[in-house]
Amino acid sequence: MAKTPSPQELSKINHEPSNDGWMEMPVDFRPGTWCYSGKASALETLELPNPREWQPTDEDWKLPDNWETIIYEGFRERLKKFRSLKIFMDTCVRCGACADKCHFFLGSGDPKNMPVLRAELLRSVYRKDFTTAGKILGKLAGARKLTKDVLKEWFYYFYQCTECRRCSVFCPYGIDTAEVTMMARELLHLVGVNINWVLEPAAKCFTTGNHLGLLPHTFKDSIESLCEDIEDVTGIHIDVPLNKKGADVLFITPSADVFADPGIYTFMGYLLLFEHIGLNYTMSTYASEGGNFGLFTNNETMKKLNSKMYAEAKRLGVKWILGGECGHMWRVVHQYMDTMNGPADFLEVPKSPITGTVFENAASTKMVHITEFTADLIKHGKLKFDPRRNDHRHVTFHDSCNPARAMGLFEEPRYIIKQVCNNFHEMPENTIREQTFCCGSGTGLNTDEYMEMRMRGGLPRASAVKHVHQKHGVDLLSCICAIDRATLSTLMQYWVPAVEVSGVHELVGNALIMEGENERTTDLRDEPLEGMEDDE
C-alpha cells in the first residue's frame, strides 16, 4: 500500500512546469488531445502508403524501415514544387506577432501551439537537412535531427492546428501557417501517420460522393424526410429535383446539411428559398458533398474530390454551380480550384435567373456562394419576409474562418440576417470578420475522442459568445459552415449552455412568406413562435 505523504512532503509538491527547452520536451499523449489513427481500409481506398493497425499511444508506430529517407525526399520534393513552402521556411524572423493569436494557444497555454513555434517544429528539421548553417551549427542554428520523437511531436501539434489562418492575418510577412500545417501533414502521410476522422470521410467521398457515405437512395430519403418536415411546419409541399439534366443551377452543400442537426434546418431554409423564387435547379446524389476533406489530406486528394463537383456539373449540363453554407469548400473553390481543375470553361459565368445579376467574382470558378445569391435577391426586393418569426431569438454571427479569411465574405451574411431578424448583436470587434476565432474543431478535428482539445481551442470563440449572451441575451449563434454548426453546438454546451447554433438560411426559411402557406405557429425546429403560438 502506498505511503501517505507527510505534510512536509506535500508542501514540496511543485505545480510549476519544467524549465527544459522546447526541443527537450517529448509529447505526452493524454486522452482527449489526439485523434485515432487512420484505418488501413481508408488508406487503401485513398492509395496512401503504409496501411496498418496502430494508435498514437503505441510505442512502436510501425513506420517503414527507411522512414527518415522518405520524409527527407518528400520534404525536398515539396520545397522544389511549392515556392511558398521554401519562403515560409526561410522568412520567419520570430517576431512573435502570431504567438498569442492562435485559439489553441490561447485556450491551452501550450507554447508549441504558438504558430511560430508550431512551424519551428518543421523548420528545425528543415534547417538541419537543407541549410548550410543548420548542417554545421546544429542546435545553435535552431536545427535538429528528425527522430521518432520529433515525428510524434509533428503528429501531435500539426493535428492541433485547424488551418484557420488567424495567425497569418497578424504576420508581417504573410506567412500562411495553414500551408505549413498542410505540408507537415503531407509529409506525415508519406509514412502512414494520419488520423481517421480525416481519412475515412475522404475515402467515403471517393466511393459514395459524400463524407458520410450516404448512398444515393439514402441521400434521397433524407431529403424527402426533410421535405415532410417542411410541409408539417409550412403546409408547402416541395419536390427536390435530383440528378436532373439541363437545370440552370447545380446546388451543392455539405452532406451534413442533409443529415445532421442543426444543419438540416439550414437545408430546409435553402429549399424554401428555391421554392419561393421558382429556381430551376438540381441537386446531385453523386456530387452530394460540398466539403472536401482532401484539403486536410493532400493536394492530390483535394483535387480529386473537388473535380467531382465539376464533372457532375458537366454531366448534368447545368449553367453554373450554387454552393451552400460550407466553410472549407469555399477555401478550396476560391483559392485552389482554379489552378487545380479550372478554369471551368464548359460552364457559364453565373447569372442570377431572378435578378439578372452577373457574379463576376465567380467568372472563373463558376460557383456562387448562397449568401451572395440570397443577398442579391433581397437587394432586388425579390423575397417576402416576416422577420417577426425570428423574434424569439437574439442572434449573433460567427464568421466561419474560411469564408471570412479565404473569401472576405463578411457583409452578405450580416445583410441577410439583418433583413430576416429583428434582434442582431455583434460580438466584440477583435473576435469577428478577419479576426474571427475558429470553432476549434476544423480540419477534420471534429471527433469525439478529441473533446478536451476542442474545448480548449474553442475557448476564445466561446468567451465572445458568452459576452453577448450576458450583455444582450444572445441565444443563437448563426454561422455559414457545416463543421461550425455541428461543433459549435457541442462547444456551447460546455461554455455557454443557453446558446444554440444555426445556419443563416434557417433564419431565412423561418422568415420567408411562402405563397399558399399555412399560418406559421412554429419555427423550422418546431418550436413555438413568440405571439404566434397555436391556440390549441
Binding site: I13, H15, E16, P17, N19, W22, D28, R30, G32, T33, A99, D100, F105, L106, G107, S108, G109, D110, P111, M114, L117, T218, D221, S222, S225, F259, A260, D261, P428, N430, T431, D448, E449, M451, E452, M453, M455, R456, L459, P460, S463, A464, H467, T490, Q493, Y494, W495
Partner: protein, 176 residues
C-alpha cells in the same frame, strides 16, 4: 479583526502574487502572454484575474453561499479542467493563496493574537478548495457527457434514416 484589516489593506499585492503563482503553473514562454487583460484576446489571463478578485473578496465577506462561490469558481475551473493539468494541479491554485498570504503577512500571522482568526480563514480557503473540486468534477463529467452525446446522436440518426429503429407513437403506446 486585525487579520481581516491587513488582508483588506494588502488586497492588491496579495492578488498580484496569487495571480502570478497561478500564471506560473503554465510554461514560462506562455505565461508572459497572459498579462494582456483584454478578455477576448486573452480569455485565460482575464478569467483568472477576474475570478480570484471575486474569490478573495468573498473570503473576506463571509456572506456568499456555496452556490454563489461555485458559480464564481466555474469560469476558471472550467478552463483548467480541459487544460494539461492533473486534477490536483487544476485546483491547487486555491491552496496557493495560503502560501501567498503567509509570505506577505508572515509577521501578522505568526502573532498569537490572530492565530485563531487565521485558522478560521484557512478553513474557509479549504472549503473553497473542496467546492472547486466539485466544480472540476462537474466539468469533467460534462466532457464525457458531450462525447457520449455526439457519439449517440450520430449513431441514432444513421439508424433512424436507415429505417432500422421502430418509432413508438403516442397513439400506439399502451395505456399503463
Amino acid at each position: 479583526m486585525k487579520l481581516k484589516s491587513c488582508l483588506k489593506e494588502k488586497r492588491a499585492t496579495i492578488l498580484e502574487r496569487w495571480y502570478q503563482a497561478i500564471i506560473d503553473t503554465y510554461p514560462s514562454e506562455s505565461a508572459k502572454h497572459f498579462n494582456n487583460q483584454d478578455p477576448f484576446a486573452n480569455p485565460v489571463g482575464f478569467t483568472i484575474s477576474d475570478t480570484i478578485g471575486f474569490l478573495y473578496d468573498s473570503l473576506l465577506r463571509e456572506e456568499d453561499t456555496e452556490e454563489e462561490i461555485a458559480q464564481a469558481l466555474d469560469s476558471m475551473v472550467r478552463i483548467r479542467a480541459v487544460q494539461d493539468f492533473s486534477p490536483s494541479q487544476a485546483v491547487a491554485f486555491v491552496f496557493q493563496l495560503k502560501k501567498v498570504i503567509r509570505a506577505e503577512l508572515s509577521g501578522v500571522i505568526d502573532s498569537e493574537k490572530v492565530s485563531e482568526e487565521w485558522g478560521r480563514f484557512e478553513e474557509r480557503i479549504d472549503r473553497l478548495a473542496l467546492v472547486s473540486f466539485d466544480v472540476y468534477m462537474k466539468c469533467r463529467e460534462k466532457i464525457y457527457e458531450l462525447r457520449t452525446h455526439e457519439f449517440k446522436s450520430r449513431a441514432w440518426r444513421l439508424l433512424e434514416r436507415a429505417n432500422m429503429v421502430g418509432v413508438i407513437s403516442e397513439e400506439s403506446s399502451p395505456n399503463c
